[in-house]
Assembly symmetry: C2
Homo-oligomer: 269 residues x 2
Amino acid sequence: MADHTNIFLKKTFVAITGASRGLGRSIALQFSVNLPANSVIVLMARNSQALESVKFEVMSVAPNIKVLVRNYDQGNLENTDYFKDIFNELLLQNDISRDDFEQYIIVHNCATIGDVTKRSLELSDSTLVRKYYDINLTGMILLNTSFFQTFSDSTKSRVVVNMTSTSTYDPLASFHLYSAGKAARDMYMRVLAVEEPSLRILTFAPGASDTDMAKEVERLCMNKPFLERLKGLRADGKLTRPDTPISKLVQILEENTFENAAYVGFVNC
Amino acid sequence: MADHTNIFLKKTFVAITGASRGLGRSIALQFSVNLPANSVIVLMARNSQALESVKFEVMSVAPNIKVLVRNYDQGNLENTDYFKDIFNELLLQNDISRDDFEQYIIVHNCATIGDVTKRSLELSDSTLVRKYYDINLTGMILLNTSFFQTFSDSTKSRVVVNMTSTSTYDPLASFHLYSAGKAARDMYMRVLAVEEPSLRILTFAPGASDTDMAKEVERLCMNKPFLERLKGLRADGKLTRPDTPISKLVQILEENTFENAAYVGFVNC
């Protein structure tokens, strides 16, 4: 049962998706320096080499944290067993017992932006649209189930961080797939909160920061007014490093007073 | 360009998904008696036999409307060309010219409820979760694109009716897949409205009515308080026939003053 005290006081098993770069890397680094010794951080993403590099960084700032790397493709829906035993296997392979922890956290950070070169009425590539929701919706749901089937003890603190965006509510031209996916995740989290009141669920929008996703938008987006806004933010130095919103995320989790599954945004512009 | 007058005054080509029963059947029947002669209604669903039966009903109440039946599986994502030429082929096969119409309407009514026997944290069947969003999200987007790539003349009236539910905003235990899908469709429509201001987009929630979907919920749903509410509605005669909310839908489209892509609900309970 969550007790709403600073979550960084508990010895924790935490899994972070999209941990190889950007916001995910920053979450890994900032969580690791705040968590108690012998907590475990699992870094998950497709790029194993980049994950090893983040692991190295985490180990250098937080030598008392155990860091595991798990090659992970959230869009892997062809293999129907892909998500099933991810965390059970990780525990077994690393000789870790779930009972060693006071808390379990999953951070759903993995996301793609969709084809921002196109308008909604140009979305005719069925493989592309399907793959988008495989990665950003179905895969997230399946990983979440897998995590809580492994960490099913509802007497312990269990936390979900759903990384989102203002696109959850704010319709922007060219962000069709992204907006719809974020809105879907938001509602999934709200239903989850109703069903499982013992979970603490934070849906957090980090605002505009300088990530590879932002660069992809700047390179490809067909929404010219938004592009100008983004370029203006960069020119004005308001396109923050990922560390800035993630510091805010850490503070919110320390205070731990947020309303369950409510949208919480970090506004920097 | 939409002119916001009664949409039922224009000679129309209208496609309705999920038209074999329930709300879709009622939409077909009520639209057909309101539209001008020589309008065309396309009934789309998986069950061809049931569609033929609805076609027969429509022809008997509106003999001046041309009714086409199209066997259609919105979850068919294995065939990557499935959605591509649906409407072009229909026009060709039936020797119909798109220029014969003053207006084009698509009604996205096809929907499934998801596995309401399960809690969110029991959603571990990847095929089931993926299939849910294939049918309810990806397929809808691809059909919408296909429709407007065929009916691309933005100087004509073009209307989208997105059938939705209070689940778009109201999180209910056991409606995880359904709620998330409806929220996603809602946001897709909002982005579409921003990108294509010449479209008229109505997102309409018909409230609780006596459909096969309601019966499925009553049979299977694990959310006991909601089940009791639904049974109470039925006992009190408040679980209306589909015709009641669809009459309201017709009235809203006649008045045609709704705010584009805003959620409009019919409340009967």
